[in-house]
């Protein structure tokens, strides 16, 4: 059949593209974000693959203590003769697990509290809002230190503590978005059709806040990684001999290490900075891609 003119139906000639497709295109064009994404991929591959290629991060070799980088130990060995490269790969894996794990926990809590408060409003919103303010007012690091010293430092407790304390920001953002969205006419339309609250929340409101949530999550991952490194550095996070970037840097408190054995503490320091920077770049890119109005040209 050849093309025929249909006046009322001659519509939407623009190629079909979903909002997600448009966002993906904008994201791909964001140079820093792509750079960040590439860096994260390389780091992730390193974290997953390195343990299979390198020697065990726990194996001590007393004949090879404090050795500078060489063919055998690419980044040298530490004070117990353990391979720095291998320890770092396990450390960054821990960092990523903490980052994503903690954010997953607080995203669920924050989204739930923000959704409920913003949607139902009233006294419930007041109570949840004050609860959010209260948790925000607590000096996080101090509480974490208390928390960890009570329940004991470990990978799980670090994830749990960051997850249980990090939600207020997510809750606030979700609540704000919901407050604006619930007055939208398409929500009224859903009500007139007869939709219940649950379906309005799940099918109409939640999909519209996925964008901002993704951005919150990305920056949250970067923060959680930094926080974990800080805790481990203070000895409150992952415990030796389990390697973590934080407790690897901790070795630099020894003046000898700091001055003459830089390969022990410099690589984990650089790796953590690069990781956090890359995650933040991706966050910037996501924000610009998902909300074109906020785009800042670099």
């Amino acid at each position: 059949m050849t093309a025929r003119a249909e006046p009322a139906a001659q519509i939407a000639i623009a190629p079909h593209e979903s909002l997600l497709g448009q966002a993906a295109r904008r994201f791909v064009r964001h140079r820093l974000a792509m750079l960040g994404l590439a860096a994260i991929l390389v780091i992730a591959v390193y974290a997953v693959v390195a343990p299979f290629l390198l020697q065990s991060p726990y194996k001590t070799d007393l004949r090879a203590i404090d050795k500078p980088p060489s063919a055998e130990h690419i980044l040298g060995t530490d004070r117990s003769g353990r391979d720095v490269m291998a320890r770092m790969s396990t450390g960054i894996r821990t960092s990523l697990i903490v980052g994503f794990g903690a954010v997953a926990i607080y995203l669920v809590i924050g989204t739930l509290i923000g959704l409920v408060g913003g949607f139902f409003g009233g006294a419930l919103d007041q109570v949840l809002g004050r609860l959010t303010d209260t948790v925000l007012a607590i000096p996080t690091l101090l509480l974490i230190i208390v928390f960890v010293s009570v329940i004991g430092p470990s990978l799980i407790s670090v994830i749990a503590v960051i997850g249980l304390l990090g939600w207020p920001q997510a809750a606030r953002i979700v609540r704000g978005q919901i407050l604006a969205l619930r007055e939208a006419e398409f929500i009224s339309a859903a009500r007139v059709v007869g939709l219940g609250n649950r379906r309005i929340l799940g099918a109409h409101l939640l999909p519209n806040i996925i964008g901002p949530l993704t951005v919150v999550a990305t920056f949250g991952v970067a923060n959680a990684i930094l926080l974990e490194a800080g805790l481990s550095f203070l000895g409150l996070g992952v415990q030796a001999p389990e390697p973590s970037l934080g407790n690897m840097i901790l070795e630099a408190r020894d003046g000898v290490v700091l001055k003459s054995l830089p390969w022990i503490w410099l690589p984990p320091g650089i790796l953590i900075s690069v990781t956090v920077l890359a995650v933040n770049f991706v966050g910037d890119g996501l924000r610009d891609a998902l909300d074109p109005r906020s785009t800042r040209r670099l």
Binding site: H16, V192, G194
Partner: protein, 321 residues
């Protein structure tokens, strides 16, 4: 013609909610004791300035706002008393077309999802039948079925309004509240959408509560016109009668503001002084008296009731017998 919709002394007052540390303010009387009836298949045009309560009235009838007082009877059933499943069941009979076609469709849901949703909620038909119904409805509003998997942002305002109309038609309602359905559209698109609505009404016998501030549009679509001022009806009359012989001073002023292309027929423009008073603090007596060129002492003290003054014509004014 049988009565489809009867509204009895409907009021909707908004109260600025007093929080834990705030005091509640004076209520805004957006709709204040409105009564009217609408026959099956007829169109009631509701006209008035911004903020006079037109949209609130429409939404209170649909239970999008809970009415403060009064009753809405649709098809012999008291809608204001319904809740739960009974209300859900009743929603099939009444739908809405919104003003802003950019806000009334969820940006994350495709056209087919939007039109199918009412059918899913009310468990009408099998999935296959629903798909067929979506195509059918798209055809009715003049869109091709290739639109079904696209998102709202891929369409123009007029096309989106057609999608909104298709959604409103999905449940075969007896009443549609059209809340300024064309005022956000270009003039050329306006007429297309108006004609679509007129055709649908003729073919399907749907009653419309057509809300607009555009007197020409109202004249074009309405059987009966009601003029609203500060939450009340001031005049209600058959469209032809109202435009030929406006009785209430406010209606006269409104009609005199319509541009008249024929200079010979151009009557004197009645220019009102001042603004609509605040609905939190309406003036005593006739709400229109502060701006009325004909106001007398009685208007300042006594609220005029809406009374029948001729066949089908009701006016709320002390000066008209």
């Amino acid at each position: 013609m049988t009565v489809l919709l009867e509204v009895r002394e409907l009021s909707k007052h908004f109260t600025a909610r007093g929080g834990l540390f705030r005091r509640a303010g004076a209520p805004v009387k957006a709709v204040d004791g409105v009564s009217f009836t609408l026959a099956r298949g007829e169109t009631l045009g509701l006209v008035g300035e911004s903020g006079c309560g037109k949209s609130t009235l429409g939404r209170a009838i649909l239970r999008l706002h809970e009415p403060t007082a009064g009753e809405v009877w649709l098809d012999g059933e008291n809608v204001t008393a319904l809740s739960g499943d009974a209300l859900l069941e009743h929603r099939r009979c009444m739908q809405i077309i919104f003003q802003d076609p950019y806000a009334s469709l969820n940006p994350r849901r495709t056209v087919a999802q939007a039109i199918r949703e009412p059918l899913e909620v009310h468990r009408i038909g099998t999935p296959v039948e629903r798909e067929r119904r979506v195509d059918e409805l798209l055809d009715v509003v003049g869109m091709r079925s290739s639109a079904r998997n696209r998102y709202p942002h891929e369409f123009s305002g007029g096309q989106r309004q057609r999608i909104g109309i298709a959604r409103a038609l999905a449940l075969d309602p007896a009443l549609i509240v059209a809340d300024e359905p064309v005022s956000a559209l270009d003039v050329s698109v306006q007429s297309q959408v108006l004609n679509l609505i007129a055709n649908l009404q003729r073919e399907r016998g749907i009653a419309f509560l057509f809300i607009s501030h555009d007197l020409a549009v109202i004249q074009h679509v309405s059987d009966v016109v009601a003029v609203m001022y500060l939450g009340r009806f001031v005049e209600m009359a058959p469209a032809a009668e109202l435009y030929r012989r406006p009785r209430h001073p406010y209606t006269q002023a409104l009609l005199s503001a319509v541009p008249q292309p024929d200079p010979a027929r151009r009557a004197g423009r009645i220019v009102l002084q001042g603004d609509i008073p605040s609905p939190t603090d309406p003036p005593p007596g006739c709400p229109f008296h502060p701006r009325c060129p004909l106001a007398v002492d009685r208007c300042r003290g006594e609220v005029p009731a809406l009374r029948a003054v001729a066949e089908g014509v009701s006016v709320a004014c002390h000066l008209i017998e």
